[in-house]
Amino acid sequence: MNWRPSIFILAAAFLAVFLEASVGVFRHWFGAQIDLLPTLMVYTALTNGFATIVLLAVCGGLWFDSLSLNPLGASVLPLLGIGLLIYRSRDLLLREHVFARVVLGLMAGAAQPLGTLFILLNLGLTPLLGWASLWQWVVLALGGGVVTPLCFALFDRLHRALEYQPVTQTSFRPDREIKRGRG
């Protein structure tokens, strides 16, 4: 198994959680912080294997919860659910199309907070919820939809820059070369 893509994805998840905790621009402008982990999960589930999906869900979720008042593990299970759902049906998805990526990002961005809140409420916790949470949910979903195609573009570029590219096969075959001239 090639571990390089998995390491890139985990590093990106680490950086994403760091940015979510330290950059408050989106919170200031839109009243909600965008979550980048569902976006990464969409990319991982469409391009990587089962092990990377589990690693991203566990590491990304625990990193996120460790900087939050969420109980540890609250973000892991929804992320894992999203990843497995996409992974199981990825052969049926038109993953090369930007529109499909946007829709998947939108759905993942919307599903992740709902799943986490479902767990929090079942644990008897009282997160800050009200009518304004609907606006935050819309921002999270739209954020996921916008960022997902960008995430694909970024990783594709990284992949081209750092991975060996297969040599393209030409139609030239020496045994079938037409020799011209008198010789």
Binding site: G24, L72, L80, G130, A132, Q136
Partner: protein, 273 residues
């Protein structure tokens, strides 16, 4: 598409997460600080970058502007020295009167400045991380103030070099508060809770359990009451915006605009015992 080994891994992960979710508060807090440990280097780098930017700005500031600022700071310093002198006299007078009345001696607040290094990435909690920890004498439940001296929250979890602070407006932080309704002796008490109707407005909170015929009015100051053993009395919280009687008519609720701008905090004071 999933193999048998995949299902075994999934069951293991789900069981592990369920076990983590059920961990007691203290253990979970320590585990969280351990898991977020690798972020320390990045937070340090981000802080260093901010400092560099600030130094670069200082270098670009014209000399005349710097001299104007120095002059202004000198004037402020003289003013504060004078106030400190008056305060010292008042303090000693207060201590003498307390001793004559047989009241407990009041100690001065000891505070330590901390830098905010991270905020809660989840939208449904209000918390932040600061760069002081057990090494600096911090422990749980210490009050946290803004640079202006208004209440910001309290310390929730303490690591060796970092601590997690729960902010006003989080559903898990309740503060006993009072409103001076008329004069110095008449006051009404209530409980500060999160404002659930507008959670994105981190400047607005609720004050519940005021009496049904409360005389609290918009514009009145809300401060900590000082009961409960966590927050000393008299720390500014905010101003009342409006009040309304609850459905059963027994109590009054007030909306309070926080004195602290919690969304823009970069530094905080931690009150040490």
């Amino acid at each position: 598409m999933l193999k048998k080994s995949h299902y075994i891994i999934l069951i293991f992960v789900v069981l592990l997460m369920l076990a983590l979710l059920r961990l007691p508060g203290g253990t979970m807090g320590r585990l969280k600080l351990a898991i977020s440990g690798p972020f320390v280097a990045l937070f340090g780098a981000a802080g260093a970058t901010r400092e560099l930017t600030s130094h670069a700005e200082d270098a670009l500031t014209p000399r005349s502007e710097l001299q104007r600022q120095i002059g202004e700071l000198r004037r402020q310093n003289q003013d504060l020295q004078l106030r400190l002198q008056q305060d010292s006299q008042l303090w000693s007078e207060n201590a003498r009167l307390r001793a004559e009345a047989g009241w407990a001696r009041q100690g001065r607040w000891k505070v330590k400045l901390a830098r905010v290094i991270a905020r809660d990435p989840a939208n449904w909690w209000r918390s932040l991380e600061i760069d002081l920890g057990a090494r600096d004498g911090l422990r749980t439940n210490l009050p946290v103030l803004t640079p202006d001296g208004a209440l910001a929250g309290r310390v929730l979890n303490v690591g060796e070099t970092r601590s997690q602070v729960i902010l006003l407006g989080d559903p898990n932080l309740r503060v006993a508060a009072k409103v001076a309704t008329s004069g110095l002796t008449n006051f009404e008490t209530g409980i500060i809770t999160a404002n659930s109707s507008a959670p994105q407005e981190d400047g607005m909170i609720d004050m519940d359990h005021l009496s049904g015929n409360s005389a609290a009015q918009p514009g009145q100051n809300v401060v900590t009451w000082g009961v409960g053993g966590v927050f000393p009395g008299g720390i500014p919280i905010g101003k009342i915006v409006d009040t309304r009687t609850t459905e059963n008519g027994l109590t009054t609720e007030a909306r309070v605009m926080l004195a602290a701008k919690l969304g823009a905090l970069e530094e905080v004071w931690v009150m040490l015992p």
